[in-house]
């Protein structure tokens, strides 16, 4: 019980953020028209690529002699970049088509 309390104390700010973000995430996309479901999923997919920040930190803190950490870290940054860049570019491509139609 004590450790639970300590944990809540230690992470209380983060827990607030989590709870607010859950409601915000639901609220923000609550009224999305079904036309935009695919681009929205793709855009959200790119946003969770923010995990790359963790990969960069891991990579940057890796010991220069620790090859395993370097290789795994390199892979993590690489995959994270693929997620971010690929995700945003694919979404942009999808939305480009909506725009072309709009200008007509």
């Amino acid at each position: 019980m004590d450790s639970m309390m300590n944990w809540l104390q230690e992470y209380q700010e983060m827990i607030y953020v989590v709870i607010l973000m859950i409601f915000l995430g639901i609220e923000v996309i609550g009224r999305v028209p079904s036309v935009l479901h695919t681009p929205l999923m793709s855009g959200a997919n790119a946003i969770h690529g923010v995990v790359i920040i963790g990969a960069i930190i891991v990579m940057g803190q890796a010991d220069a002699n620790n090859w395993l950490a370097l290789v795994l870290g390199f892979l993590a940054v690489l995959l994270g970049t693929l997620n971010v860049v690929g995700g945003f570019v694919v979404t942009d491509r999808m939305l480009e088509m909506f725009k072309a139609k709009k200008s007509k």
């Binding site: 639901i26 681009p39 959200a44 930190i57 990579m59 390199f74 690929g86 945003f88």
Partner: protein, 465 residues
């Protein structure tokens, strides 16, 4: 000073994520929303590289980091630019898997890194294992989803698979709990990693192809949660907000998709699709009867003298890349004074909105696309319905046959129209693997062939009339 600049960068990034997602939910602002989020992401990445400090030490290995960033940017951009619009769902799944793998790798490296010093605190371990398990499941699950949509992986069900999956999940949670709370062996992490990867595979394998969009959306929100664990690990608010935002929004999107198909998430998850479809396949023989074919010139005639034609696009249109040919046909019919509308089922194609994206690519006007409810009101006053490679979304079994796996799914009531022309490549059942009695109805005539070829021929035929 620099630390606060980093904090501001993360705050800015978090705001762009929220605004970006908000703008993505409106057609007019969607593109800018995506770009805004991308800008925030770029700032967060570069701020991390140059400003992040831990115990007064800046990040090292910058050459490696930049090499990975550049390589990833080049490959990611090329892949995203080259992919065909029809293969979009697979691509999203693939990128999602990359993010999951990234989260899992962070946990692996950080686990070993921290253990070099001492056994980390219980809460830290719990966070590391959370990211590891969810990230791995998301990675291997996304790979299978990608393989399935790409036709590389077949549905695979074995007896007692649900029990096996539950057992595997229980094993993972139990072992992780033991490792965290009772300081189990260090190598247990690798067992958990492998078991989580396996779970992802067995989790997605039995789920039918038609449910894949739901699964991708769900795995998308998984990766969001995995990213949020990373946020907890580093006390990083950009990762936390981005991750949880996607986790929550992704879950809602998953539920919205399930609703559109009138299926409960539970049913999708335990993979009832794969099981029941086999059962109803055997019963499908009773559908039987004979179908009648229509010639190209008859079909052309029917449509050009109709008052109203409703086109129902499906995955067949997407694989044949026939969206431009379809737009051609629509234009020539409109020139003849025919009222042409597209009826878009919420789950037509492989993803909600898939057809809208494709037709938008071919410059089909937004006003001509109507959603299911509006279309169903239109059908009684429609002379000809042209079904292009759609199957399950017009299958009356969803209304009449309680044993059908799609029973209860709302469908387009094309039967209310005077004539139905179905373009398919053959009489083979659709993606859900079930027969469609619509094809044997007296109103229905079949027009076999590749959608693009058939549409081009129809256009030529109407022109020559």
């Amino acid at each position: 000073m620099e630390m606060s600049l980093l904090t501001i960068s993360y705050l800015f990034a978090s705001i762009t994520f929220i605004l970006g997602l908000k703008m993505l939910s409106h057609p007019a602002s969607a593109r800018n929303g995506n770009r805004l989020a991308a800008l925030g992401m770029a700032i967060a990445i570069f701020a991390t590289i140059f400003l992040y400090e831990s115990d007064g030490k800046k990040l090292g290995n910058l050459i490696w980091i930049f090499a990975a960033l550049i390589l990833g940017t080049v490959v990611g951009t090329l892949a995203a630019k080259k992919v065909k619009m029809t293969a979009m769902p697979q691509m999203v799944s693939l990128f999602n898997g990359m993010g999951g793998a990234c989260a899992a790798l962070i946990s692996v490296v950080e686990y070993n890194h921290l253990l070099h010093v001492q056994e980390p605190a219980t809460s830290t371990l719990a966070i590391i294992f959370g990211g590891l398990i969810i990230g791995s499941v998301s990675f291997s699950g996304s790979m299978i989803a990608w393989g399935k949509l790409d036709g590389r992986v077949k549905d695979f069900v074995f007896k007692g698979q649900h029990i096996f999956n539950l057992g595997l999940l229980f094993f993972i949670v139990a072992l992780a709990t033991y490792r965290i709370a009772w300081h189990g062996e260090i190598w247990m992490m690798y067992i958990i990693l492998v078991a989580s990867l396996l779970y992802g595979i067995f989790f997605v394998l039995p789920i039918g192809g038609a449910d894949m969009p739901v699964v991708i959306s769900l795995l998308n929100s998984f990766t969001g949660v995995a990213a949020a664990f990373g946020g907890f690990l580093y006390g990083n608010k950009a990762m936390l907000t981005g991750g949880i935002l996607v986790g929550a929004a992704g879950t809602l999107l998953t539920i919205l998709m399930c609703k559109a198909m009138n299926r409960s998430l539970m049913h999708v998850l335990i993979g009832s699709f794969g099981q029941t479809s086999a059962a109803s396949l055997s019963g499908a023989a009773s559908v039987g009867g004979s179908h009648k074919e229509v010639t190209l010139s008859d079909a052309a005639m029917m449509m050009s003298y109709a008052q109203r034609v409703v086109i129902v696009p499906g995955y067949g249109l997407a694989v044949a890349q026939a969206q431009h040919a379809c737009h051609e046909l629509e234009k020539i019919l409109i020139d003849k004074g025919v009222d042409v509308t597209y009826a878009i089922h919420p789950v037509a194609g492989r993803m909600p909105g898939h057809m809208n994206v494709l037709l938008a690519e071919a410059d089909v006007a937004y006003e001509q696309l109507v959603e299911m409810e509006a279309a169903n009101e239109l059908f009684p006053q429609t002379d000809v319905v042209l079904i292009l490679g759609a199957n399950d979304v017009v299958n009356p079994a969803a209304k009449t046959d309680p044993s059908s796996p799609i029973y209860g799914m709302p469908i387009l009531d094309v039967e209310l129209a005077k004539q139905v022309i179905v373009n398919k490549r053959s009489m083979k059942p659709g993606y859900a693997g079930i027969e469609n009695e619509l094809f044997y109805k007296p109103k229905t005539s079949m027009l076999f062939g590749d959608a693009k070829k058939v549409l081009q021929d129809l256009v030529a035929e109407i022109k020559s009339m």
